[in-house]
Protein backbone atom coordinates (compact mmCIF):
# COMPACT_ATOMS: atom_id res chain seq x y z
CA UNK A 1 0.00 0.00 0.00
CA UNK A 2 1.43 3.33 -1.02
CA UNK A 3 -0.79 5.59 0.99
CA UNK A 4 1.79 8.05 2.16
CA UNK A 5 2.68 9.46 -1.26
CA UNK A 6 0.94 12.80 -0.82
CA UNK A 7 2.06 13.39 2.72
CA UNK A 8 5.63 14.62 2.41
CA UNK A 9 4.51 17.49 0.16
CA UNK A 10 1.97 18.66 2.71
CA UNK A 11 4.30 18.13 5.57
CA UNK A 12 6.94 20.40 4.08
CA UNK A 13 5.77 23.73 5.59
CA UNK A 14 6.05 22.29 9.09
CA UNK A 15 9.39 23.50 10.43
CA UNK A 16 11.74 20.71 11.40
CA UNK A 17 12.04 20.98 15.14
CA UNK A 18 14.97 19.11 16.62
CA UNK A 19 13.90 16.33 18.99
CA UNK A 20 15.70 18.06 21.87
CA UNK A 21 12.91 20.64 21.95
CA UNK A 22 10.61 18.07 23.56
CA UNK A 23 10.18 20.11 26.69
CA UNK A 24 10.25 23.70 25.46
CA UNK A 25 8.42 25.86 22.96
CA UNK A 26 6.64 23.03 21.19
CA UNK A 27 4.14 23.24 24.00
CA UNK A 28 2.28 25.67 21.82
CA UNK A 29 1.64 22.93 19.29
CA UNK A 30 -1.31 20.64 19.91
CA UNK A 31 -0.42 17.12 21.03
CA UNK A 32 -2.56 15.45 18.38
CA UNK A 33 -3.74 16.91 15.13
CA UNK A 34 -5.71 14.99 12.52
CA UNK A 35 -6.16 17.02 9.35
CA UNK A 36 -8.74 15.38 7.09
CA UNK A 37 -7.14 12.05 7.88
CA UNK A 38 -8.93 9.08 6.36
CA UNK A 39 -8.24 5.37 6.26
CA UNK A 40 -9.27 3.07 3.44
CA UNK A 41 -8.35 -0.61 3.51
CA UNK A 42 -7.93 -2.38 0.20
CA UNK A 43 -8.26 -1.02 -3.31
CA UNK A 44 -10.96 -0.77 -5.96
CA UNK A 45 -14.53 -1.93 -5.44
CA UNK A 46 -13.64 -4.12 -2.47
CA UNK A 47 -12.10 -1.32 -0.48
CA UNK A 48 -13.49 -0.55 2.96
CA UNK A 49 -13.50 2.94 4.39
CA UNK A 50 -12.63 2.65 8.05
CA UNK A 51 -12.44 6.37 8.68
CA UNK A 52 -13.93 9.23 6.68
CA UNK A 53 -11.79 12.36 6.47
CA UNK A 54 -11.61 13.45 10.07
CA UNK A 55 -10.24 16.57 11.69
CA UNK A 56 -9.45 16.48 15.37
CA UNK A 57 -7.22 18.53 17.66
CA UNK A 58 -6.06 17.72 21.14
CA UNK A 59 -4.17 20.12 23.37
CA UNK A 60 -1.40 18.88 25.62
CA UNK A 61 -2.48 17.52 28.96
CA UNK A 62 -6.05 17.05 27.79
CA UNK A 63 -8.08 13.89 28.39
CA UNK A 64 -10.29 13.06 25.45
CA UNK A 65 -12.72 10.16 25.26
CA UNK A 66 -13.85 8.89 21.87
CA UNK A 67 -17.21 7.15 21.94
CA UNK A 68 -19.43 5.79 19.21
CA UNK A 69 -21.09 2.67 17.82
CA UNK A 70 -18.89 -0.35 17.19
CA UNK A 71 -16.94 -0.33 13.98
CA UNK A 72 -17.08 3.44 13.66
CA UNK A 73 -13.33 3.91 13.45
CA UNK A 74 -12.51 4.82 17.04
CA UNK A 75 -9.74 2.29 17.21
CA UNK A 76 -8.63 3.30 13.73
CA UNK A 77 -7.85 6.76 15.06
CA UNK A 78 -5.79 5.23 17.84
CA UNK A 79 -3.93 3.04 15.39
CA UNK A 80 -3.22 6.11 13.25
CA UNK A 81 -1.84 8.05 16.19
CA UNK A 82 0.27 5.12 17.38
CA UNK A 83 1.77 4.62 13.91
CA UNK A 84 0.38 1.10 13.54
CA UNK A 85 -1.30 2.23 10.31
CA UNK A 86 -0.79 5.20 8.00
CA UNK A 87 -3.54 7.53 6.76
CA UNK A 88 -4.76 6.96 3.19
CA UNK A 89 -5.15 10.71 2.85
CA UNK A 90 -4.73 13.73 5.06
CA UNK A 91 -2.25 14.25 7.86
CA UNK A 92 -1.65 12.99 11.36
CA UNK A 93 0.64 15.20 13.42
CA UNK A 94 1.92 14.64 16.93
CA UNK A 95 3.35 17.70 18.60
CA UNK A 96 3.34 19.38 15.20
CA UNK A 97 5.37 16.71 13.42
CA UNK A 98 4.60 13.50 11.61
CA UNK A 99 3.98 10.44 13.74
CA UNK A 100 7.09 8.64 12.52
CA UNK A 101 9.27 11.53 13.73
CA UNK A 102 8.62 10.35 17.31
CA UNK A 103 8.28 13.91 18.57
CA UNK A 104 6.07 12.59 21.37
CA UNK A 105 6.62 9.47 23.43
CA UNK A 106 3.67 7.13 23.21
CA UNK A 107 2.31 4.69 25.76
CA UNK A 108 -0.50 2.40 24.71
CA UNK A 109 -2.80 -0.11 26.38
CA UNK A 110 -5.20 -2.38 24.55
CA UNK A 111 -8.34 -4.13 25.76
CA UNK A 112 -6.39 -7.37 25.85
CA UNK A 113 -3.63 -6.89 28.44
CA UNK A 114 -1.08 -8.48 26.04
CA UNK A 115 1.46 -9.24 28.73
CA UNK A 116 4.30 -11.32 27.31
CA UNK A 117 3.69 -14.69 28.97
CA UNK A 118 7.36 -15.59 29.35
CA UNK A 119 8.22 -12.50 31.39
CA UNK A 120 7.37 -11.63 34.98
CA UNK A 121 5.14 -8.62 35.62
CA UNK A 122 8.22 -6.60 36.54
CA UNK A 123 9.98 -7.41 33.28
CA UNK A 124 6.81 -6.84 31.28
CA UNK A 125 6.36 -3.40 32.76
CA UNK A 126 10.03 -2.64 32.21
CA UNK A 127 9.83 -3.47 28.51
CA UNK A 128 9.31 0.12 27.25
CA UNK A 129 12.48 1.19 29.06
CA UNK A 130 14.34 -1.37 26.97
CA UNK A 131 12.91 -0.04 23.70
CA UNK A 132 12.28 3.69 24.05
CA UNK A 133 14.90 6.45 23.92
CA UNK A 134 16.47 7.82 26.05
CA UNK A 135 15.84 5.02 28.56
CA UNK A 136 17.23 2.25 26.39
CA UNK A 137 20.69 3.83 26.36
CA UNK A 138 21.33 2.94 29.98
CA UNK A 139 19.07 -0.10 30.14
CA UNK A 140 21.91 -2.54 30.81
CA UNK A 141 23.23 -0.59 33.79
CA UNK A 142 19.88 0.44 35.23
CA UNK A 143 17.66 -2.58 34.79
CA UNK A 144 18.64 -4.02 38.15
CA UNK A 145 18.81 -0.65 39.91
CA UNK A 146 17.10 2.59 39.01
CA UNK A 147 14.70 1.06 36.46
CA UNK A 148 13.74 -1.72 38.80
CA UNK A 149 12.91 0.77 41.55
CA UNK A 150 10.95 2.83 39.07
CA UNK A 151 8.87 -0.21 38.05
CA UNK A 152 8.29 -1.23 41.65
CA UNK A 153 7.19 2.27 42.63
CA UNK A 154 4.65 2.38 39.83
CA UNK A 155 3.39 -1.13 40.60
CA UNK A 156 2.96 -0.08 44.23
CA UNK A 157 0.90 2.89 43.08
CA UNK A 158 -1.65 0.55 41.45
CA UNK A 159 -1.59 -2.00 44.26
CA UNK A 160 0.58 -4.64 42.58
CA UNK A 161 3.57 -4.28 44.89
CA UNK A 162 3.65 -7.97 45.81
CA UNK A 163 3.17 -9.27 42.30
CA UNK A 164 6.28 -7.96 40.56
CA UNK A 165 7.82 -11.41 40.33
CA UNK A 166 4.66 -13.24 39.35
CA UNK A 167 4.00 -14.41 35.85
CA UNK A 168 1.00 -13.03 33.93
CA UNK A 169 -0.96 -16.29 34.16
CA UNK A 170 -0.90 -16.02 37.94
CA UNK A 171 -2.86 -12.75 37.89
CA UNK A 172 -6.55 -12.00 37.46
CA UNK A 173 -7.91 -9.91 34.60
CA UNK A 174 -8.14 -6.77 36.68
CA UNK A 175 -4.58 -7.14 37.94
CA UNK A 176 -3.29 -7.71 34.43
CA UNK A 177 -5.03 -4.56 33.27
CA UNK A 178 -3.36 -2.60 36.06
CA UNK A 179 0.00 -3.99 34.99
CA UNK A 180 -0.94 -3.01 31.46
CA UNK A 181 -1.52 0.58 32.59
CA UNK A 182 1.86 0.53 34.31
CA UNK A 183 3.54 -0.66 31.14
CA UNK A 184 1.86 2.12 29.19
CA UNK A 185 3.09 4.73 31.67
CA UNK A 186 6.50 3.51 32.83
CA UNK A 187 8.43 5.53 30.22
CA UNK A 188 6.58 8.76 31.09
CA UNK A 189 4.82 9.06 27.76
CA UNK A 190 3.62 12.43 26.50
CA UNK A 191 0.70 10.62 24.98
CA UNK A 192 -1.30 7.84 26.57
CA UNK A 193 -3.48 5.88 24.15
CA UNK A 194 -6.10 3.59 25.66
CA UNK A 195 -8.15 1.24 23.50
CA UNK A 196 -11.10 0.07 25.64
CA UNK A 197 -8.69 -0.97 28.36
CA UNK A 198 -11.41 -1.90 30.85
CA UNK A 199 -13.87 -3.43 28.40
CA UNK A 200 -13.51 -7.00 29.60
CA UNK A 201 -13.73 -6.31 33.34
CA UNK A 202 -16.63 -6.51 35.77
CA UNK A 203 -18.27 -3.31 36.98
CA UNK A 204 -16.51 -3.10 40.37
CA UNK A 205 -13.06 -3.77 39.03
CA UNK A 206 -13.74 -1.29 36.28
CA UNK A 207 -14.72 1.48 38.68
CA UNK A 208 -11.67 0.73 40.79
CA UNK A 209 -9.45 1.06 37.75
CA UNK A 210 -11.14 4.30 36.69
CA UNK A 211 -10.01 5.81 39.96
CA UNK A 212 -6.51 4.41 39.58
CA UNK A 213 -6.31 5.83 36.08
CA UNK A 214 -7.63 9.20 37.25
CA UNK A 215 -4.98 9.35 39.96
CA UNK A 216 -2.23 8.40 37.53
CA UNK A 217 -3.46 11.01 35.06
CA UNK A 218 -3.65 13.83 37.60
CA UNK A 219 -0.27 12.79 38.93
CA UNK A 220 1.55 12.80 35.60
CA UNK A 221 -0.62 14.84 33.27
CA UNK A 222 0.02 13.09 29.98
CA UNK A 223 -2.25 13.74 27.03
CA UNK A 224 -4.78 10.91 27.11
CA UNK A 225 -6.87 9.60 24.25
CA UNK A 226 -9.34 7.00 25.48
CA UNK A 227 -11.49 4.88 23.20
CA UNK A 228 -14.44 3.34 24.98
CA UNK A 229 -17.95 1.95 24.67
CA UNK A 230 -18.78 2.90 28.21
CA UNK A 231 -20.36 6.35 28.44
CA UNK A 232 -20.02 6.54 32.20
CA UNK A 233 -16.35 5.71 31.86
CA UNK A 234 -15.99 8.52 29.33
CA UNK A 235 -17.91 10.95 31.55
CA UNK A 236 -16.07 10.04 34.71
CA UNK A 237 -12.56 10.20 33.29
CA UNK A 238 -12.51 12.61 30.38
CA UNK A 239 -12.38 16.38 30.11
CA UNK A 240 -13.72 16.24 26.60
CA UNK A 241 -15.91 13.71 24.80
CA UNK A 242 -16.12 13.24 21.05
CA UNK A 243 -18.92 11.15 19.54
CA UNK A 244 -18.33 9.39 16.24
CA UNK A 245 -20.89 8.33 13.64
CA UNK A 246 -21.34 4.80 12.34
CA UNK A 247 -19.00 3.43 9.67
CA UNK A 248 -17.41 5.16 7.91
CA UNK A 249 -16.87 7.21 11.00
CA UNK A 250 -16.35 10.89 11.54
CA UNK A 251 -16.67 13.12 14.60
CA UNK A 252 -20.24 14.44 14.96
CA UNK A 253 -20.18 15.89 18.44
CA UNK A 254 -17.45 17.40 20.56
CA UNK A 255 -18.20 18.54 24.10
CA UNK A 256 -16.39 19.37 27.30
CA UNK A 257 -17.10 17.70 30.64
CA UNK A 258 -17.36 20.53 33.12
CA UNK A 259 -16.75 18.61 36.31
CA UNK A 260 -13.76 19.45 38.48
CA UNK A 261 -11.10 16.76 38.91
CA UNK A 262 -10.45 14.61 40.84
CA UNK A 263 -13.97 13.29 40.60
CA UNK A 264 -15.53 11.01 43.16
CA UNK A 265 -16.94 7.74 41.87
CA UNK A 266 -20.33 8.80 43.31
CA UNK A 267 -20.52 11.46 40.62
CA UNK A 268 -21.83 8.91 38.14
CA UNK A 269 -25.15 8.87 40.04
CA UNK A 270 -25.36 12.66 39.99
CA UNK A 271 -28.43 13.88 38.03
CA UNK A 272 -26.33 16.21 35.89
CA UNK A 273 -23.94 13.36 35.07
CA UNK A 274 -26.77 11.00 34.26
CA UNK A 275 -28.32 13.64 32.03
CA UNK A 276 -25.03 14.04 30.16
CA UNK A 277 -24.60 10.30 29.56
CA UNK A 278 -28.26 10.06 28.53
CA UNK A 279 -27.66 12.78 25.95
CA UNK A 280 -24.61 10.93 24.60
CA UNK A 281 -26.55 7.71 24.54
CA UNK A 282 -29.37 9.18 22.47
CA UNK A 283 -26.90 10.72 20.06
CA UNK A 284 -25.19 7.37 19.49
CA UNK A 285 -28.54 5.57 19.22
CA UNK A 286 -29.45 7.96 16.41
CA UNK A 287 -26.23 7.57 14.44
CA UNK A 288 -26.29 3.78 14.73
CA UNK A 289 -29.20 3.58 12.30
Amino acid sequence: MNMTSDIPAQAMPVPATPPASRTNPVHARPAIELQDASVVFGKGPQSVTALSPTTLRMERGDFLALVGPSGCGKSTILRLVSNLIQPSSGLVLLGGREVAAKELRIGMAFQNPTMLPWLTIEKNVMLPLKIVEPFKRTFRQDRKGAYRDRVHALLAQVGLKDFANHFPWQLSGGMLQRANLCRALIHDPDLLLLDEPFGALDQFTREELWQILQDLYLDRKPTVLLVTHDLREAGFLARRICVMSARPGRVISDRAVDLPQPRDIGVIYDPAFVEMTQGLRELIAQVRK
Binding site: S82, L116, P117, W118, L119, L127, I131, H187
Partner: protein, 257 residues
Protein backbone atom coordinates in the same frame (compact mmCIF):
# COMPACT_ATOMS: atom_id res chain seq x y z
CA UNK B 1 1.54 -42.07 47.82
CA UNK B 2 0.85 -39.42 45.21
CA UNK B 3 -0.48 -40.23 41.76
CA UNK B 4 2.81 -39.26 40.17
CA UNK B 5 4.90 -41.67 42.24
CA UNK B 6 2.37 -44.46 41.73
CA UNK B 7 2.57 -43.98 37.95
CA UNK B 8 6.35 -43.95 38.16
CA UNK B 9 6.38 -47.13 40.22
CA UNK B 10 4.02 -48.87 37.80
CA UNK B 11 6.09 -47.73 34.84
CA UNK B 12 9.31 -49.11 36.43
CA UNK B 13 7.72 -52.47 37.20
CA UNK B 14 6.37 -52.57 33.65
CA UNK B 15 9.90 -52.25 32.26
CA UNK B 16 11.19 -54.82 34.73
CA UNK B 17 8.30 -57.14 33.88
CA UNK B 18 9.08 -56.85 30.19
CA UNK B 19 12.63 -58.13 30.64
CA UNK B 20 11.47 -60.77 33.11
CA UNK B 21 8.91 -62.11 30.64
CA UNK B 22 11.58 -62.13 27.92
CA UNK B 23 13.91 -64.14 30.18
CA UNK B 24 11.21 -66.59 31.21
CA UNK B 25 9.88 -67.14 27.68
CA UNK B 26 13.38 -67.82 26.37
CA UNK B 27 13.90 -70.49 29.04
CA UNK B 28 10.44 -72.06 28.77
CA UNK B 29 10.39 -72.14 24.95
CA UNK B 30 14.06 -73.13 24.83
CA UNK B 31 15.01 -70.38 22.38
CA UNK B 32 18.52 -70.67 20.98
CA UNK B 33 20.76 -67.79 22.02
CA UNK B 34 21.76 -67.48 18.35
CA UNK B 35 18.20 -66.27 17.68
CA UNK B 36 17.27 -64.37 20.80
CA UNK B 37 19.66 -64.27 23.76
CA UNK B 38 18.25 -63.94 27.25
CA UNK B 39 18.45 -60.50 28.94
CA UNK B 40 20.78 -61.93 31.57
CA UNK B 41 23.20 -63.06 28.86
CA UNK B 42 23.02 -59.64 27.24
CA UNK B 43 23.72 -58.00 30.59
CA UNK B 44 26.78 -60.20 31.10
CA UNK B 45 28.07 -59.41 27.61
CA UNK B 46 27.44 -55.73 28.18
CA UNK B 47 29.39 -55.85 31.44
CA UNK B 48 32.37 -57.88 30.16
CA UNK B 49 32.66 -56.12 26.80
CA UNK B 50 32.01 -52.63 28.13
CA UNK B 51 35.68 -51.48 27.90
CA UNK B 52 35.59 -52.42 24.20
CA UNK B 53 32.22 -50.77 23.67
CA UNK B 54 33.06 -47.51 25.44
CA UNK B 55 35.12 -45.82 22.65
CA UNK B 56 32.39 -46.74 20.19
CA UNK B 57 29.77 -45.19 22.45
CA UNK B 58 31.81 -41.99 22.55
CA UNK B 59 32.24 -42.11 18.76
CA UNK B 60 28.50 -42.42 18.15
CA UNK B 61 27.78 -39.71 20.68
CA UNK B 62 30.34 -37.44 19.04
CA UNK B 63 28.93 -37.96 15.54
CA UNK B 64 25.36 -37.47 16.78
CA UNK B 65 26.02 -34.30 18.76
CA UNK B 66 28.26 -32.69 16.15
CA UNK B 67 25.73 -33.36 13.40
CA UNK B 68 22.92 -32.23 15.66
CA UNK B 69 24.67 -28.96 16.55
CA UNK B 70 25.32 -28.18 12.90
CA UNK B 71 21.71 -29.09 12.12
CA UNK B 72 20.41 -26.77 14.82
CA UNK B 73 22.50 -23.86 13.57
CA UNK B 74 21.39 -24.37 9.98
CA UNK B 75 17.78 -25.13 10.94
CA UNK B 76 17.42 -22.05 13.14
CA UNK B 77 18.93 -19.78 10.50
CA UNK B 78 16.66 -21.04 7.74
CA UNK B 79 13.68 -21.08 10.12
CA UNK B 80 14.17 -17.46 11.17
CA UNK B 81 14.61 -16.42 7.56
CA UNK B 82 11.46 -18.03 6.23
CA UNK B 83 9.46 -17.37 9.41
CA UNK B 84 9.99 -13.62 9.27
CA UNK B 85 9.77 -13.06 5.53
CA UNK B 86 6.68 -14.04 3.62
CA UNK B 87 8.62 -13.90 0.34
CA UNK B 88 11.37 -16.21 1.58
CA UNK B 89 8.70 -18.56 2.90
CA UNK B 90 6.94 -18.78 -0.45
CA UNK B 91 10.16 -19.15 -2.40
CA UNK B 92 12.00 -21.66 -0.23
CA UNK B 93 9.22 -23.83 1.13
CA UNK B 94 8.61 -26.10 -1.91
CA UNK B 95 12.31 -26.95 -2.17
CA UNK B 96 12.49 -27.62 1.57
CA UNK B 97 9.52 -29.96 1.39
CA UNK B 98 11.23 -31.73 -1.51
CA UNK B 99 14.39 -32.18 0.55
CA UNK B 100 12.54 -33.36 3.58
CA UNK B 101 10.62 -36.00 1.70
CA UNK B 102 13.82 -37.75 0.58
CA UNK B 103 14.40 -40.81 2.79
CA UNK B 104 17.62 -39.81 4.52
CA UNK B 105 19.06 -43.32 4.18
CA UNK B 106 19.36 -42.53 0.51
CA UNK B 107 21.87 -39.74 1.06
CA UNK B 108 24.37 -41.89 2.97
CA UNK B 109 25.87 -43.43 -0.20
CA UNK B 110 26.33 -39.93 -1.61
CA UNK B 111 28.17 -38.74 1.50
CA UNK B 112 30.33 -41.86 1.39
CA UNK B 113 31.04 -41.16 -2.26
CA UNK B 114 32.14 -37.61 -1.43
CA UNK B 115 33.90 -38.04 1.89
CA UNK B 116 34.77 -41.76 2.08
CA UNK B 117 33.60 -43.93 4.94
CA UNK B 118 34.08 -42.93 8.56
CA UNK B 119 33.03 -40.09 10.83
CA UNK B 120 32.23 -37.41 8.23
CA UNK B 121 29.26 -39.15 6.58
CA UNK B 122 27.90 -40.01 10.04
CA UNK B 123 28.01 -36.37 11.11
CA UNK B 124 26.51 -35.18 7.84
CA UNK B 125 23.70 -37.72 7.97
CA UNK B 126 22.94 -36.74 11.56
CA UNK B 127 22.85 -33.14 10.35
CA UNK B 128 20.60 -33.38 7.30
CA UNK B 129 18.14 -35.64 9.05
CA UNK B 130 17.44 -33.16 11.87
CA UNK B 131 17.34 -29.85 9.96
CA UNK B 132 13.81 -29.98 8.65
CA UNK B 133 11.79 -30.40 11.87
CA UNK B 134 13.72 -27.47 13.36
CA UNK B 135 13.10 -25.27 10.32
CA UNK B 136 9.39 -26.02 10.31
CA UNK B 137 8.96 -25.39 14.03
CA UNK B 138 10.94 -22.15 14.13
CA UNK B 139 9.11 -20.86 11.07
CA UNK B 140 5.72 -21.86 12.47
CA UNK B 141 6.45 -20.27 15.84
CA UNK B 142 7.50 -17.00 14.25
CA UNK B 143 4.71 -16.93 11.70
CA UNK B 144 2.01 -17.55 14.31
CA UNK B 145 3.16 -14.89 16.79
CA UNK B 146 0.07 -12.96 17.92
CA UNK B 147 -0.05 -9.56 16.17
CA UNK B 148 -1.23 -8.06 19.48
CA UNK B 149 2.09 -8.87 21.12
CA UNK B 150 4.00 -7.33 18.24
CA UNK B 151 1.75 -4.25 18.30
CA UNK B 152 2.81 -3.56 21.87
CA UNK B 153 6.38 -3.14 20.69
CA UNK B 154 5.46 -1.37 17.47
CA UNK B 155 3.64 1.39 19.33
CA UNK B 156 6.84 1.92 21.30
CA UNK B 157 8.67 2.44 18.03
CA UNK B 158 10.66 -0.80 18.20
CA UNK B 159 12.69 -1.87 15.19
CA UNK B 160 12.07 -5.16 13.38
CA UNK B 161 15.13 -6.62 15.07
CA UNK B 162 13.92 -5.58 18.52
CA UNK B 163 10.53 -7.15 17.85
CA UNK B 164 12.21 -10.38 16.74
CA UNK B 165 14.42 -10.51 19.85
CA UNK B 166 11.81 -9.50 22.39
CA UNK B 167 8.69 -11.16 21.03
CA UNK B 168 9.26 -13.45 18.04
CA UNK B 169 12.12 -15.57 19.34
CA UNK B 170 10.95 -16.01 22.96
CA UNK B 171 7.48 -16.82 21.65
CA UNK B 172 9.06 -19.48 19.41
CA UNK B 173 11.07 -21.19 22.15
CA UNK B 174 8.39 -23.82 23.01
CA UNK B 175 8.24 -24.81 19.34
CA UNK B 176 12.01 -24.84 19.13
CA UNK B 177 12.46 -27.12 22.13
CA UNK B 178 9.69 -29.43 21.01
CA UNK B 179 11.56 -29.76 17.72
CA UNK B 180 14.89 -30.33 19.51
CA UNK B 181 13.51 -33.45 21.18
CA UNK B 182 12.49 -34.82 17.79
CA UNK B 183 15.70 -33.63 16.15
CA UNK B 184 18.11 -35.22 18.65
CA UNK B 185 16.40 -38.58 18.24
CA UNK B 186 16.57 -38.28 14.46
CA UNK B 187 20.25 -37.26 14.56
CA UNK B 188 20.99 -40.30 16.62
CA UNK B 189 19.21 -42.52 14.09
CA UNK B 190 21.12 -40.83 11.27
CA UNK B 191 24.51 -41.28 12.88
CA UNK B 192 23.97 -44.97 13.71
CA UNK B 193 22.56 -45.60 10.26
CA UNK B 194 25.61 -44.15 8.58
CA UNK B 195 27.94 -46.08 10.90
CA UNK B 196 26.14 -49.28 10.00
CA UNK B 197 26.60 -48.68 6.30
CA UNK B 198 30.03 -47.14 6.11
CA UNK B 199 32.29 -46.85 9.11
CA UNK B 200 34.74 -48.85 11.18
CA UNK B 201 33.81 -47.05 14.39
CA UNK B 202 30.69 -46.47 16.40
CA UNK B 203 27.95 -48.60 17.90
CA UNK B 204 26.30 -49.07 14.49
CA UNK B 205 29.49 -50.60 13.17
CA UNK B 206 29.94 -52.78 16.29
CA UNK B 207 26.48 -54.25 15.76
CA UNK B 208 27.12 -54.84 12.08
CA UNK B 209 30.42 -56.63 12.76
CA UNK B 210 29.01 -58.64 15.67
CA UNK B 211 26.08 -59.73 13.53
CA UNK B 212 28.31 -61.04 10.75
CA UNK B 213 30.35 -62.95 13.39
CA UNK B 214 27.18 -64.42 14.96
CA UNK B 215 27.94 -62.71 18.28
CA UNK B 216 24.23 -62.32 18.80
CA UNK B 217 24.38 -61.22 22.42
CA UNK B 218 26.80 -58.44 21.48
CA UNK B 219 24.37 -57.27 18.81
CA UNK B 220 21.68 -57.04 21.46
CA UNK B 221 24.08 -55.39 23.88
CA UNK B 222 24.62 -52.72 21.21
CA UNK B 223 20.88 -52.34 20.87
CA UNK B 224 20.49 -51.82 24.61
CA UNK B 225 23.28 -49.24 24.60
CA UNK B 226 21.55 -47.41 21.75
CA UNK B 227 18.24 -47.44 23.59
CA UNK B 228 19.84 -46.07 26.75
CA UNK B 229 21.68 -43.35 24.83
CA UNK B 230 18.54 -42.38 22.97
CA UNK B 231 16.56 -42.11 26.18
CA UNK B 232 19.35 -40.13 27.87
CA UNK B 233 19.55 -37.61 25.01
CA UNK B 234 15.78 -37.22 24.89
CA UNK B 235 15.57 -36.81 28.65
CA UNK B 236 18.29 -34.16 28.62
CA UNK B 237 16.45 -32.02 26.07
CA UNK B 238 13.15 -32.61 27.84
CA UNK B 239 14.71 -31.28 31.01
CA UNK B 240 16.16 -28.28 29.18
CA UNK B 241 12.76 -27.61 27.66
CA UNK B 242 10.98 -27.59 30.98
CA UNK B 243 13.57 -25.20 32.40
CA UNK B 244 13.54 -22.72 29.53
CA UNK B 245 9.92 -22.77 28.40
CA UNK B 246 8.14 -23.53 31.65
CA UNK B 247 5.92 -20.48 31.09
CA UNK B 248 4.24 -22.22 28.19
CA UNK B 249 3.12 -25.28 30.17
CA UNK B 250 2.64 -23.84 33.63
CA UNK B 251 -0.74 -22.32 32.84
CA UNK B 252 -2.55 -25.23 34.49
CA UNK B 253 -1.26 -24.43 37.96
CA UNK B 254 -3.47 -22.67 40.44
CA UNK B 255 -3.78 -19.02 39.53
CA UNK B 256 -4.24 -16.24 42.05
CA UNK B 257 -7.63 -14.68 41.63
Amino acid sequence: MTDATRIRLMSSSFILGFFLLWEVLCIVLNVSDLILPRPSEIAVTLWTRFPVLWPHILQTLYATLTGFTLGVIIGVSIGVLIGTSRVAYGVAYPLLVGFSSIPKVAVVPIFVLWFGSGTTPAILTAMVICVFPIVVNIATGLATTEPDLEDVLKTLGASKKEILWNVGLPRTMPYFFASLKVAITLSFVGAVLSETVASNKGIGNVMMTASSNFQVSLVFAGLIVLALMGVALYAFFSFLESRVTGWATRGNDIAIT
